[in-house]
Amino acid sequence: MSLWEYANPRRFMALTAKVQPWCWAVAVLLCAVGLGWGVLATPEDFRMGHSVKIIYVHVPTAFIAINAWFMMLVTSLIWLIRRHHVSALAARAAAPVGLVMTAIALATGAIWGKPMWGTYWAWDPRLTSFLILFLFYLGYVALWQAIENPDAAADLTSILCLVGSVFAVISRYAAQFWNQGLHQGASLSLDAEENISDVFWIPLVITLAGFVFLFVALVLMRTRTEIRRRRLHAITLRERTA
């Protein structure tokens, strides 16, 4: 029995019915611990003060925003190559989650930006890349909604996801090329661990794991909804044609 058998809607529904509550439980637990610890139990940063605590929302949402698109790319490829319906529906289910995560990452970034740089918005390459990613999500979601035939919609959005991924990556480098200056250094980013002391780091990792589970739970829930919608659609289609 191979992994692909779970691409059968019925098996997927049966499996996820069991897995989903656990995902939610772990997500809520980790988020509660991570956010509680991070917001209430960490000291104030000597440079940033209280405002540093927004990283417990900002960093995980940004992380999910990028990786949700990556997941959509993988599921789109699986749909195009192996024609597993659940895969296409999972991509469709993940897109609005990614869209909202990108929006939250942008909003928290702006809120954090005010005390840090004295402005809500700067055309920093990283922010610009996220704004462009947001636009790609918008186009992708809009295309799904515009096409009535579900299989054609799955095909076309998968092609868009593939091509869009390439352009999103190029846009990221274009944004860096476009505005190399006025960056406040790596203190914002995850890869500069030396800038973040362990006190902040551990709760951040817990929150990050919590958001990953939250994302998985949300995508599972939305995929299940999409499968039910397709089943309902199959029934109404028959009512109409019978």
């Binding site: 059968n8 809607p9 019925r10 319906h85 035939n149 579900p150 299989d151 499968i227 397709r230 089943r231 309902l232 659609h233 199959a234 029934i235 289609l237 028959r238 044609t241 019978a242």
Partner: protein, 208 residues
């Protein structure tokens, strides 16, 4: 050339309309596809033409063997009849003599310099049908070819098809009227699809 399909299932939009379609057409024969509106005549022709993938079954002829004449005539209003025809001849790689034969067969000579926008519905139809001859392909798929043709031009069309068959070609014609052609009837009503099964659509399991 002889061709046929076996156990073909076709989809229109999302709905499965035909299942188990099988027939063979020998050299120089035409098949008249019949059935009430909505039975899937256009769907079958589009599937044969390669514009839609069959849900199941196989077509025993290469895609390049088919020439598809749809409801729409594929004419550009701003171009003259001659320009329209020579464009399609260029696309299908047939030469100027194919154009002159097609013009001859459908009596288009007086219309050659007229813009397609100024043609009547019947004249458009004739130009659209002449396009079939420009493809140089052995199997013509024609969807209601005689719509808006008068009696004289229906006869012209039947002559053109007969000449095509005499050259060893073949045709599948969806039509409601009798063209006076010696065509094998194929009643699509016999192949109407019941509800889709799980093999066609994994979400149809909800129906079972």
């Amino acid at each position: 050339m002889e061709w046929g399909v076996s156990d073909l299932a076709c989809r229109r939009g999302e709905a499965l309309v035909l299942r188990g379609v099988s027939f063979r057409v020998p050299d120089g024969r035409a098949v008249a596809i019949r059935g009430p509106n909505g039975v899937g005549k256009t769907t079958l022709l589009r599937t044969l033409a390669g514009l839609a993938a069959p849900v199941a079954g196989s077509i025993d002829a290469p895609d390049e063997a088919f020439a598809y004449g749809a409801h729409a005539d594929a004419l550009k209003d701003q171009l003259t009849v001659a320009e329209n025809l020579s464009f399609w001849a260029a696309i299908f790689g047939t030469g100027a003599d194919a154009v002159s034969r097609a013009v001859q067969a459908f009596g288009l000579a007086p219309l050659l310099r007229r813009r397609a926008a100024d043609l009547s519905a019947g004249q458009r139809r004739r130009t659209g049908l002449a396009r079939m001859m420009l493809t140089g392909r052995p199997i013509w798929l024609l969807d209601e070819p005689t719509v808006s043709l008068d009696a004289e031009n229906v006869a012209r069309f039947a002559d053109a098809v007969r000449a095509h068959l005499a050259e060893g070609g073949s045709a599948a014609i969806a039509t409601h009227i009798d063209l006076g052609l010696d065509a094998d009837p194929l009643n699509l009503g016999a192949f109407a699809a019941a509800a889709p099964t799980r093999a066609d659509d994994p979400f149809a399991e909800a129906i079972e």
